[in-house]
């Protein structure tokens, strides 16, 4: 915006990420502002629609020596996944059978990775984050079920997975709904005593994991470790389990209250 004297926009932009002071062409946006918006939307759309190379991800995990289970949700493709959240919450029968076969002995914790609503998020952040989480679980001396890799899952798919594996708690890492300012946010949802039919009030959530702008991997792994150990100790998760880890942490990272 160039007309007028004493224009404050450069300073005011420091107070908000909102698209202020864009100027105009007639009643429309100037070309540069239009192109910036469209590029941000394109990145968000690509994150939603880009397929996730889950085979590659699972192969990489196996190469690192981790037992892996490949699972399928009932959603048949991306459009079905977006329209039918109920299908993304449930497993196909073959996947259920595979879990039941693998989960005989039970485990303290099960981990699930899915692209969720952003393949970009899981491609970018799941691998390094998972490394820290696995290290934390080993340090805590907890037994871990085989890692589950599943495309097109909703958060609640972890309930059925955890139930079949007879896990005491389950954590699912998945891509969050992309916004214009961030298309690669990863979330983690932790549920104690997973079973089909759990509600969101019974989960704890870590959101906006996307360093450097959002939560760092170290911080996310630290918080998950705290929530997991408290959850197993107290036998619950969700609104009654507050994330007090920040107060106890030396990380100096202040994340907002992490409940959804």
């Amino acid at each position: 915006m160039s007309e007028g004297l004493n224009e404050p926009w450069d300073l005011l932009r420091g107070f908000t990420t909102a698209r202020i002071g864009l100027g105009r062409a007639g009643a429309g946006l100037p070309s540069r502002a239009l192109l910036d918006f469209q590029a941000a939307h394109a990145a968000a759309r690509d994150a939603v629609w880009r397929p996730w190379d889950s085979d590659g991800f699972a192969a990489r995990l196996e190469l690192a020596g981790e037992p892996v289970l490949r699972l399928d949700s009932q959603a048949s493709g991306r459009a079905d996944y977006l329209k039918r959240p109920d299908k993304g919450r449930r497993l196909r029968p073959a996947s259920r059978d595979a879990l039941l076969a693998a989960g005989g002995g039970g485990a303290d914790v099960a981990l699930v990775v899915s692209n969720g609503l952003s393949s970009t998020a899981v491609e970018r952040h799941a691998w390094p984050l998972l490394g820290l989480i696995l290290a934390a679980i080993r340090e805590m001396d907890l037994s871990l079920a085989p890692l589950c890799v599943i495309e097109n899952a909703r958060v609640a798919a972890a309930d059925e997975i955890g139930e079949c594996l007879r896990a005491r708690a389950v954590a699912i890492l998945l891509g969050e709904r992309p916004g214009l300012s961030a298309e690669d946010s990863l979330g983690i949802y932790l549920t104690y005593a997973p079973a089909v039919g759990r509600t969101d009030a019974e989960r704890n959530c870590l959101s906006n994991i996307r360093p450097p702008a959002g939560m760092t991997y170290t911080s996310a792994a630290f918080k998950l470790r705290y929530l997991l150990s408290e959850s197993l100790r107290r036998g619950l998760s969700g609104v009654d389990l507050k994330d007090d880890s920040v107060a106890e942490s030396e990380l100096g990272f202040s994340a907002p209250g992490l409940l959804e």
């Binding site: 404050p8 107070f15 908000t16 105009r24 009643a27 609503l117 916004g179």
Partner: protein, 461 residues
């Protein structure tokens, strides 16, 4: 009672009125998700034939949800005005559509003579152009510091949201919006947190800003009604009570509200004496909300939405806003479904007598983009929509969705010759602010002097 018909050699049967309404609805994801949608285009056409022959009176005799178990159903029957209904009381749904399309018929006076189900039913037989043509003839005027809904005008809600409610960030977005002539309907903030202290601070800031600038508009912080009531008791300067509402008692319960609570909140706001015209409520709605709360009772998404308008009109709102594409693709899948729903909601709201605006919007996982929003925006401008949203650059950085921008409102005013509310238009002229993109932008620095939260920045500039 089951309904049956043969169409093009195929036989179709529908178990009851609810199912007939659902299957006559133009396709949308919400009804598919609920398992209520027609399973073929021909089944939809068959349902529409049968719906066209239903007498309007039948909706009075056959409530979709039992009034003894659903207070919205009871309210709908209680509201019905038989005298106002008289001109159309003998008509079927199909005949009612024909009646509405006659330009000499007074559609405005009908409002309290109609039930939401009648409005929803007839909308299902109407094309988009019908929805536009009839809504345009419904005159609904609402008054606070500005007058909205006058012919040839369109208002905008200035929506200056900020991810952490930083008052400087919010003030910066408000200043931006005013410089484009936005904000005559309301300056309305969705707070990042609903805590009373936070909401009170935002209310105080908006109140001071409106007084200092003299802008003839009103403020709203979109907190839960119980938060607003608590703050009113403590004397906070609250212009409009906000609440999200839905079309069944159970869905409203999931929002933590009921009719008695809304009535109590309205009485409290009236007692503050801030609006002599008595319109002190701001409601938001959206197709799919009852389904998402698992509280639709087998009623399709669009009919549930129309039922929410009975709740709204009971409390004489200043503004009602259908947040049409916010809920996501599992309810409205793409631009086509969002556009249709926006026009239906605006039509049903206006027909039932509401000051109906629309948040023309979408999320990034819906099959929609800004071009679809341009289409809906333009159609609503033609339809005489009460107000639209004005968000900086159409990008809401707190709610992470895309809506209409300050620029979009200027575009609409320019291409359709629409003007802001008259009081606001006069204020803009006094400030030297152009509102339709034909003149120059004002020097923001002049207005900035009225913004205490930003004065430091202004001095530095």
């Amino acid at each position: 009672m089951p309904y049956s018909i043969a169409v093009k050699g195929r036989h179709f049967q529908f178990s009851d009125l609810k199912s007939l309404l659902a299957k006559a609805s133009p396709l949308r994801a919400a009804d598919e998700l609920a398992g209520l949608a027609a399973t073929s285009e021909l089944e939809r056409a068959a349902a529409q034939y049968l719906l066209a022959d239903i007498p309007l009176k039948q909706f009075l005799d056959e409530p979709l949800l039992p009034p003894e178990r659903d207070e919205v159903s009871a309210l709908i029957l209680r509201q019905h005005d038989r005298a106002k209904f008289a001109p159309v009381s003998a008509l079927t749904v199909g005949e009612f559509r024909d009646w509405l399309l006659q330009p000499e018929h007074d559609v405005t006076s009908l409002a309290w003579g109609l039930t939401p189900e009648m409005a929803a039913a007839v909308s299902k037989l109407m094309r988009n152009q019908d929805l536009i043509a009839v809504a345009r003839r419904c005159l609904v005027v609402s008054r606070f510091r500005s007058t909205l809904g006058l012919p040839g005008r369109i208002g905008s809600r200035l929506q200056p949201n900020h991810p952490t409610d930083d008052p400087r960030g919010i003030a910066a977005s408000i200043l931006d919006g005013l410089c484009y002539g936005g904000g005559d309907a309301v300056i309305g903030i969705n707070p990042a947190t609903d805590s009373p202290d936070n909401v009170r601070a935002l209310l105080n800031m908006l109140d001071e800003l409106i007084r200092r600038t003299g802008a003839p508009t009103q403020s709203c912080v979109l907190a839960h009604v119980t938060t607003s009531m608590q703050l009113m008791r403590q004397g906070a300067p609250l212009d409009l009570v906000f609440q999200s509402i839905a079309g069944t008692e159970a869905a409203n319960r999931s929002f933590g509200v009921n009719l008695a609570m809304l009535g109590e909140a309205r009485e409290m706001a009236l007692s503050l004496g801030r609006n002599p015209f008595g319109q002190v409520m701001y409601f938001e709605t959206g197709q799919g909300s009852a389904l998402s709360a698992d509280a639709h009772g087998g009623v399709d998404a669009q009919t549930c939405e129309a039922r929410a308008y009975a709740v709204a009109r009971e409390f004489a709102p200043f503004l009602v806003n259908t947040v049409v594409g916010f809920i996501g693709p599992e309810y409205l899948y793409d631009g086509k479904q969002i556009i249709r729903a926006g026009l239906e909601d605006h039509f049903c709201g206006k027909l039932l007598g509401l000051p109906m605006g629309c948040d023309v919007c979408y999320t990034n996982h819906a099959e929609a983009d800004q071009n679809d929003m341009d289409n809906l925006l333009t159609l609503l401008g033609v339809a005489g929509c009460h107000f639209i949203m004005g968000v900086p650059g159409a990008d809401d950085v707190m709610l992470a969705y895309q809506s209409s921008s300050f620029h979009d409102c200027q575009y609409l005013r320019q291409v359709l010759g629409l003007r802001p509310a008259p009081e606001f238009e006069a204020w803009l002229a006094a400030q030297g602010i152009d509102w339709d993109g034909r003149g120059g932008l004002p020097a923001a620095g002049r207005l900035l002097r009225q913004f205490p939260a930003l004065l430091g920045a202004g001095a530095a500039a």
